[in-house]
């Protein structure tokens, strides 16, 4: 059947198109489709490296219209959505397309890194305000570009925390059913509290005391709000939003009934295997490190600054490290819902054993043998403003049910390599972003503000040692 169709296409269009696409100078991205089948099973180091090579090529590729870049009849929305009329222009810094490559924004200090203010993106749900041409916050939330280094470990932590929380809920329900009484339990995972739930014998769960996590108890570790579940989900979202490269696992015929949902003349622009390569590369990006400055004074200041950082209570949210049990990164992952390829969609997920990677070997382990992931975060959302300090409450829209003044604790690893700061990238110094903290962070911020200048400087010295040191 394939042969018949191919022959027909050749007969209809001649050989010219084939010749052009095959040339070394073809205006297409050769890494698209470089992997025919989605990887499955435990991947050897060589296999992972192969995937990473292709993933990096995809991440840095400047997609062209001949790849399928552009989405004239699709909005930036996560749920496949058509605009009422074709979008007026292919590129727009506001509503997108707003980048040619992933690395157009994720590039500081290396590909996969963060973005400068110039690389900010404008988030709207893409349902109503899908074609806006203003940066007015009435239409969108403006966000800086986060770096992706260590993101595989972040997703693994989130998966384990989700399993813990769901298990605690299951046990509470079981206990309530067994005892015939309501059971109120504290939700704690990796020593981080997410409030309480109360289970009743009839199987109901009261969620009104939850803190910093969604009601389904899924830790969504990505985005500044903490509303994206996985690298895979984010990749599918961003490919459409920023490049108009639509992944068939969400925009394809199964869900939309169309092979070319964005009506740009190209079908199946990103296959599941393409997305897998992108995920493999991102998931295996090295974790940022604590850099040792050659300047002895800086070394000393940083060492004392780390102590102040702890003393001031900053580590109550910016946890120095969280323990991770397993370094096996499954893709597709166990938590994604329909619309992002998940473990129901494949015979066998790929497993990337991150312990094969050299940079992982340098991570500390605790007495239980758990890898201590030095993220300086807690993967929890907090209120970050108060009436006296609303500098970080500058958005008008909640995002995916998360209020405008609530954000996930920023992981500080890599901070020293990724200025500027804040969710809008509009704080040029660490001193300024620390002083902008309010809400849950008020007491820590007050401690900082009330500290002598020397101590404040030492904290900055410490934070500036949290760097992304190597690209590989």
């Amino acid at each position: 059947m394939k042969t018949v169709i191919c022959s027909l296409i050749l007969m209809l269009f001649g050989q010219q198109g084939v010749a052009q696409s095959d040339t070394a100078w073809a205006e297409k991205t050769p890494s698209i489709g470089a992997i025919e089948n989605i990887p499955h099973g435990l991947q050897s180091k060589t296999q992972l490296e192969h995937l990473r090579t292709i993933g990096e090529a995809l991440f840095t590729a400047q997609f062209t219209e001949k790849d399928g870049a552009g989405r004239p009849m699709a909005t930036q929305a996560i749920i496949p959505t058509k605009p009422r009329r074709a979008l007026r222009q292919t590129f727009a810094r506001t509503s997108g397309l707003d980048a040619n490559a992933c690395s157009s924004c994720h590039n500081q200090p290396f590909d996969g890194g963060a973005g400068d203010f110039v690389a900010n993106v404008f988030l709207s749900e893409g349902f109503n305000n899908h074609d806006f041409d203003t940066t007015d916050p009435e239409f969108s939330n403006e966000r800086g570009t986060n770096h992706l280094f260590g993101s595989g470990l972040i997703e693994l932590l989130a998966r384990e925390m989700t399993v813990d929380l769901v298990s605690q809920r299951t046990r509470a329900l079981s206990n309530a059913r067994d005892t015939g009484s309501a059971v109120r339990v504290a939700l704690i995972t990796k020593d981080i509290s997410f409030g309480h739930i109360t289970a009743t014998p009839d199987g109901m769960v009261d969620l009104s005391e939850l803190d910093g996590v969604d009601t389904d108890l899924v830790i969504r570790p990505f985005s500044q709000k903490g509303v994206m579940t996985s690298l895979r989900q984010f990749t599918v979202n961003a490919s459409n939003h920023h490049h108009g490269m639509q992944a068939s696992e969400r925009f394809g015929v199964r869900w939309t009934g169309e092979q070319d949902f964005d009506e740009d003349g190209y079908e199946n622009e990103f296959s599941p295997a393409d997305v897998s390569a992108l995920v493999a590369w991102q998931a295996s990006l090295p974790a940022p490190t604590v850099w040792q400055p050659s300047d002895g004074a800086w070394q000393d200041a940083a060492q004392i600054g780390a102590e102040h950082f702890d003393d001031f209570g900053c580590t109550s949210c910016h946890r120095t490290a969280l323990p991770l049990n397993s370094l096996h990164f499954y893709d597709p992952g166990p938590v994604d819902a329909a619309g992002t390829l998940n473990q129901h969609d494949v015979a066998k997920p790929a497993i990337y054993d991150l312990s094969q990677l050299d940079w992982v070997k340098s991570l500390e382990r605790n007495e239980q043998g758990q890898v201590m992931v030095p993220l300086f975060g807690d993967l929890k959302r907090h209120k970050i403003t108060d009436p006296e300090n609303e500098l970080l409450g500058n958005e008008l829209f909640s995002q995916r049910f998360v209020g405008r003044d609530i954000f996930m604790t920023a992981e500080l690893w890599g901070l020293g390599s990724t200025a500027p700061y804040g969710h809008r990238n509009d704080f040029t110094t660490l001193d300024a972003i620390i002083r902008a903290h309010g809400g849950s962070a008020k007491s820590s911020k007050d401690s900082y503000e009330n500290a002598p200048e020397k101590q404040r400087s030492e904290i900055v010295a410490f934070l500036k040692t949290l760097r992304i040191e190597v690209a590989e």
């Binding site: 349902f127 009839d202 009261d206 329909a338 619309g339």
Partner: protein, 539 residues
Amino acid sequence: MKTIVALVSLTITNPAFAQSEFFGDVPQFVEQAEIAGIDHQYRGPFEYFVGGGAASFDCNNDRMNDLFIAGGEMPAKLFRNTSKAGQDITFSEQPISATGEITKVTGAYPINFDNDAHVDLMVLRVGQNQILRGLGDCTFAKANDHFVFDGGDAWTTGFSAIWEQDAANPTLAFANYIDRDAPGSPWGTCEDNVLARPNPNGEYDQNQSLSPSFCSLSIMFTDWNNRGQFDLRVTNDRQYHRGGYEQLWNLNNGGRPEQFDARDGWQKLIIWGMGIAQTDLNADGRPDYALSSMGDTMLQTLDEDAEEDSPIYRDMAYERAATAHRPYQGDDLKPSTGWHTEFADFNNDTRTDLYIAKGNVERMPDFAEVDPDNMLMGLPNGKFSEQGGAAGIALPRRGRGAVIEDFNADGMLDLLVVNREEPVSLFRNLGRKTEWGYAPFGNFLAVELRNTGVNRNAVGAKISVKTGNLTQTHTVQIGGGHASGRLGFIHFGLGVAERAQVRIKWPDGDWSQPYRVFANNFVVLDRDDPDAKYWYPAR
């Protein structure tokens, strides 16, 4: 190549079913009534050619819906749902306590008459209809006397209920069929339908005949023009009425019922009306209706040009490929006979699907003898695609009533079909078929409403579920279908959306605040509680 030949052959030999390709998930059903512990048939002579319904409801407050199934001349049976979430569906038959055997049952609908913690049953019969008052733990008491309810002596085939205005108890409507004692019966001797409004004491001592009536087989209270008041839609069987037609009764906001007629724009339609289903295909608040019949199924939408209070309907079954007028497989090209009809999203893709139970009445030679049930899957372009064969529900049985329910709380709708003179079919929905086994569909959301005070199940409430730009709506109803009804969680397919906003227009017209909920959950919305609660089934 084989595929091409098969496709060409299909197109040439069966042009009526050359339809849009279906690229979505085809639900895979496996019939397992016997494994599940349901051994039951709907049987009997002429009076039981029609009817054959079931009620799905929770009689023991575990939120896993149980079943009451009509038996015709055989006793009706009660089956308690013993399934665990995500596992095989299992039921345990148990006596209908305190009532003894109940025979001559044509169908049943669950309803909470007295606003207590237990769901009751309205049992339809050939003879006196019977209220079974729920007492908890799947026990019941006969309660006609308790409610001063005159069950009559008619051949009842349909039921509907609504709480009108501020009433503490529901208004009831009964569809009656042939007056079998009238001279000349069965032709042209239709028994009047009945409207029973409660008095202030919650007693039913004011039955009103809805005359004329035309041998009705389904009846449904419906807010057809979204004005917040429910009127009464009736579908009638032309086989026996003379001069009859489809009816819409204006209940005049609690006043004297009057038929809408040509002066109002109501067009005379004469079909073999068997079942009514309601949905809202474009979420404009004005319901669309499927009417099952012999031959074409109707799919009616309020005419865009109709004035606000004019019930002018346009049939769009043909343009939506939903006529389902003859068997979609086999070589019998005679017209189909449709019975229970119901809209539901079987594959969680956000697009409503249409199920129609099919089956020859009783050796009617002009109609298909082997007549498989339809599963018309909704397409992105608004049309439907018949997938009953691929879904595995095309059994050579004569369907009548049916219940669409997620019996094992796995987020996928299962299907129970009551067949005439043949075993009940229970189709477990396994999901979609893959090379590595069965897998779930898109995301789903199940919503249970808890109203304050009266009308505990919020009958008449409208649920809006918003994901992205898409709004799905559902009205909580008791009535319609074919002699079958349900109460409990209301199922929505969410497709690729992992969260949704839900708003409720409660029966008294008050709107709720938006509830923000995550997909793949069973959500309980209590009117007095600003927060949604989630329910988790036992595993």
